[in-house]
C-alpha cells in the first residue's frame, strides 16, 4: 500500500479539499480558517476535545452548514451550492437518526428508493448491505427492537447504501460500550478497506483514531493544529498540545547543545543529562531553550533522570510508574512487567533514561 501521507505531492486532485473554511454561530467561531485535503480511499479521522468544531466540519461537508468563508471542493468542484440531497456524500449521525417508523430494511432502502432504483435491484443491494454489516435476519425489526450495536450497523448500512464517494461518520462508535467498540473498530476498518470508500470519521477518542485512521487531523477551538499519519503524530508531532491530546506524555525542558541532521543534543535543565531528541523541522537552534517530549513507553530504567516512585500500577503486561524528580516534575514511565514481587512501593528511588529515538522536540 502506498503511503497516504504524501498523496498531496501527487499530481492527482484530492477527493476533498477544504480551503480556508470559517464558520461562525453568532459570535462563536466554530471553524477558524480550516484547510485540509483528503485523498480518495483514505480513512481520515478528525480528533479534538468536545466543542472544537468536529461535527461542524462534517456537517459542512454534508451540506447542512454553509461556510461563512472559504470553499469546499469535491473532485475539484466547488460544492457550496449543492443541497445535501444532491451531494455524493452520506453521513452517519452521532445519534444514528434512524427512522423509528420504518423497519431496518426500509431504513437502509430509503436512499435507494429516493434514487428511484428498481425493486429487484433494491432487494439485491439490501441483501449485500445486511451481509456486509452482519445483520441478516434483522431486516424486519424496527429500530426500537434492536440493540445499540445493531442500530449502529443499520445506520452504517443506510449511509453506505447509495455508495457515496465520501462517507462521513460522526462519533459512530461513541454510544457503544468499550468491548463492543473495539470489536466494531476492526469491522469498520475492514468494511472501509473492502469498499475503498473514503471515510471521514469524527472521534474524541485518540485511541480510536490511532487504531483506524490513515491520517488524523487534530482540531482545537476550530483550528487545525496538525495533520498526519497517527503513528507519526504520536511520536513526532510539532506542538505540545497535540502531543498531550494524543496520549500521556512527559515534557522536559532543556537547552540545545548541538545539532546534526534533524537531531539535537539537549541538556536537560534539571538533571543536566544529555538526551538525543529528534527535531524534524529544526525548531531548536543551538543554545536555545526547548521542550522535549517523551511518551511513557520511551522512558527505560537508567540514570539520566533520578526520581522517587509516587504510585506504581501493575497493568499486567507492563507497569505504569508515576515518579517525582527532585525538582518536582512528574514523570510517567511504562516499564516492563515487574514480576511476582509486584511494582515498586511508593518512595523507592528510581532512575530513568530515554530510549533511543523516543524523544522529540515540541513547541
Amino acid at each position: 500500500m502506498p503511503a497516504r501521507a504524501d498523496f498531496a505531492s501527487d499530481a492527482r486532485v484530492p477527493l476533498v479539499a477544504i480551503e480556508g473554511v470559517t464558520k461562525r454561530f453568532g459570535s462563536a467561531l466554530a471553524l477558524d480558517d480550516v484547510s485540509l485535503e483528503i485523498g480518495a480511499g483514505e480513512f481520515f479521522c478528525l480528533v479534538g476535545p468536545s466543542g472544537c468544531g468536529k461535527s461542524t466540519l462534517l456537517r459542512t461537508l454534508a451540506g447542512f452548514e454553509q461556510p461563512d468563508e472559504g470553499r469546499t471542493l469535491l473532485d475539484g468542484r466547488d460544492i457550496a451550492g449543492d443541497p445535501p440531497e444532491r451531494r455524493p456524500v452520506n453521513i452517519m449521525f452521532q445519534s444514528y437518526a434512524l427512522f423509528p417508523h420504518m423497519s431496518a430494511a426500509k431504513n437502509v432502502a430509503y436512499g435507494l428508493a429516493r434514487a428511484g432504483l428498481p425493486r429487484a435491484e433494491i432487494a439485491a443491494r439490501l441483501r449485500e448491505l445486511f451481509a456486509l454489516v452482519r445483520l441478516e435476519g434483522f431486516e424486519d425489526r424496527y429500530p426500537a427492537q434492536l440493540s445499540g450495536g445493531q442500530r449502529q450497523r443499520v445506520a452504517l448500512a443506510r449511509a453506505l447504501a447509495r455508495r457515496p464517494r465520501l462517507l462521513l461518520l460522526d462519533e459512530p462508535l461513541g454510544a457503544l460500550d468499550r468491548r463492543l467498540r473495539e470489536a466494531t473498530q476492526i469491522e469498520l476498518k475492514g468494511i472501509q478497506s473492502r469498499l475503498g470508500t473514503t471515510f471521514v470519521m469524527v472521534t474524541h477518542d485518540q485511541g480510536e483514531a490511532m487504531a483506524l485512521a490513515d491520517r488524523v487531523a487534530v482540531l482545537d477551538r476550530g483550528r487545525v493544529l496538525e495533520v498526519g499519519p497517527p503513528s507519526a503524530l504520536y511520536r513526532r508531532c510539532r506542538t505540545r498540545a497535540v502531543a498531550e491530546f494524543l496520549g500521556d506524555v512527559n515534557v522536559l525542558s532543556g537547552v540545545v547543545v548541538a545539532r546534526a541532521g534533524g537531531r539535537a543534543q539537549v541538556r536537560l535543565g534539571e538533571s543536566g543529562a544529555l538526551v538525543e531528541a529528534a527535531d524534524p523541522d529544526g525548531a531548536g537552534e543551538t543554545g536555545s531553550n526547548v521542550e522535549v517530549a517523551v511518551r511513557p513507553e520511551g522512558l527505560v530504567p537508567g540514570d539520566a533522570l533520578g526520581a522517587t516512585v509516587e504510585v506504581a500500577t501493575d497493568l499486567g503486561p507492563n507497569a505504569l510508574v508515576i515518579a517525582r524528580t527532585a525538582g518536582g516534575a512528574t514523570l510517567r514511565a511504562l516499564l516492563p512487567a515487574p514480576g511476582a514481587a509486584g511494582p515498586p512501593p511508593p518512595g523507592t528511588p528510581v532512575g530513568f533514561a530515554v530510549a533511543p529515538g523516543a524523544a522529540w522536540i515540541v513547541r
Binding site: 443541497p83 440531497e85 449521525f93 445519534s95 443506510r158
Partner: protein, 299 residues
C-alpha cells in the same frame, strides 16, 4: 397491607371512582330514560324508579320499560337525516380543519425556538374570551350587510349573505375548533428529532419526499388526536349550528335539543343521545384496538 400500599391502591382507584360517578352513572340514567315512555308529568316520563325492596314494584318498573323510543327513531327519517347531516358536516369540517390546521402546526414547529411560545399563545388566546361571544362576533361578520359583505362591497363584489346557512356553520366550526386540531399536531411536530429530517435530505429526499415519508407518518398520532378532538364534539355540536345555521341546517345536536326542550320528549331525546354515543364510541374503540395492534410492533 402497609399504609403506603393502601394509599397507592386508593390513588389508582380515584380515576375509576371519578368515571363511575360522572360518566357511568349519568349514562345509566340516560339509558333508563330512553327506555321509558313520555308522559305529562314532572319529570315528563314514566315509569319512575323508587328505592324500595318490594319485588312487585320492581316488576312493575321493568314492565314499564320498552324500546318504543328507539322504534320511533327508526320510523321517523328526521333522525336519520340529521345523523347523516351531522356526519357530513363533521367530516367536512374535520377535513377543512386538517387542511388548515396541519400547515399552521408545521409552520409553528419550524419557527425559531424563541418565537414558538408567542405563536402558541396566539393560538390559545381566543380561549380567554367566552365561546358564545366569539360565535356572536361571527354573526356580526356573516350577517347580510355585515362586515364580510361590506368588505366585499368595497371591491365591487356581490354580498354573500352567509349567515343562517351551512357554509356559515362550517366557518364557525372551523374557527372554533382550530386550536384543537393545531395543538396536538404541533405537540408531535415540535418534539420530532431534527436529525431525522437531515437524514432524509442526506439520503436524497427533497422537501416533498421528506414530508411524505418522514414528517407526515411521524405526526400521525397528533393528527389522530386532532381528528378525534374535533370530529366527536362537532358531530354533536349544538350552539354553532343553532346560532349560525339556517332552519334547514339539520344536526343531531340540534334535533336532540328540540326533542328535549321543544317537544319535552325526554325518552326520545335520550334515545337519540344513546344512539349517537354508540355510533361514535364503537368505531373509535375499534380503530383504537386495530391501531394498537398495528403499532405495538414498533414499541
Amino acid at each position: 397491607m402497609n399504609r403506603a400500599a393502601a394509599a397507592s391502591r386508593v390513588a389508582t382507584m380515584l380515576p375509576w371512582a371519578w368515571l363511575l360517578v360522572f360518566v357511568a352513572a349519568p349514562l345509566v340514567v340516560v339509558a333508563k330514560i330512553s327506555l321509558s315512555e313520555s308522559a305529562v308529568a314532572q319529570p315528563p316520563y314514566r315509569p319512575r324508579w323508587s328505592w324500595t325492596l318490594d319485588p312487585a314494584a320492581w316488576q312493575a318498573f321493568a314492565d314499564g320499560l320498552g324500546l318504543d323510543s328507539y322504534r320511533a327513531l327508526l320510523a321517523d327519517d328526521l333522525y336519520w337525516r340529521s345523523a347523516l347531516a351531522s356526519l357530513a358536516i363533521a367530516s367536512a369540517a374535520t377535513a377543512i380543519l386538517v387542511l388548515v390546521g396541519y400547515p399552521v402546526a408545521l409552520a409553528m414547529a419550524r419557527a425559531p425556538k424563541r418565537l414558538r411560545p408567542v405563536l402558541l399563545a396566539i393560538v390559545i388566546l381566543p380561549f380567554w374570551t367566552s365561546f358564545l361571544i366569539r360565535v356572536y362576533a361571527w354573526i356580526a361578520i356573516l350577517r347580510p350587510a355585515g362586515l364580510l359583505d361590506a368588505a366585499l362591497g368595497l371591491f365591487g363584489l356581490p354580498p354573500l349573505e352567509l349567515l343562517n346557512s351551512t357554509p356559515a356553520v362550517l366557518i364557525g366550526i372551523v374557527y372554533a375548533y382550530l386550536p384543537f386540531m393545531v395543538l396536538p399536531i404541533y405537540a408531535v411536530l415540535e418534539r420530532r428529532d431534527p436529525a431525522l429530517l437531515e437524514a432524509a435530505a442526506d439520503l436524497g429526499a427533497g422537501t416533498v419526499a421528506t414530508f411524505r415519508t418522514v414528517t407526515l407518518p411521524l405526526s400521525r398520532p397528533g393528527l389522530a388526536s386532532g381528528v378525534l378532538l374535533c370530529f366527536v364534539p362537532i358531530f354533536g355540536e349544538f350552539v354553532i349550528p343553532d346560532l349560525l345555521g339556517g332552519s334547514d341546517t339539520l344536526m343531531l345536536g340540534r334535533t336532540l335539543w328540540s326533542e328535549f326542550f321543544g317537544n319535552r320528549d325526554w325518552p326520545l331525546a335520550s334515545a337519540v343521545a344513546i344512539v349517537m354515543l354508540l355510533a361514535l364510541a364503537l368505531p373509535l374503540a375499534w380503530l383504537r384496538e386495530s391501531g394498537l395492534r398495528r403499532g405495538d410492533a414498533r414499541r
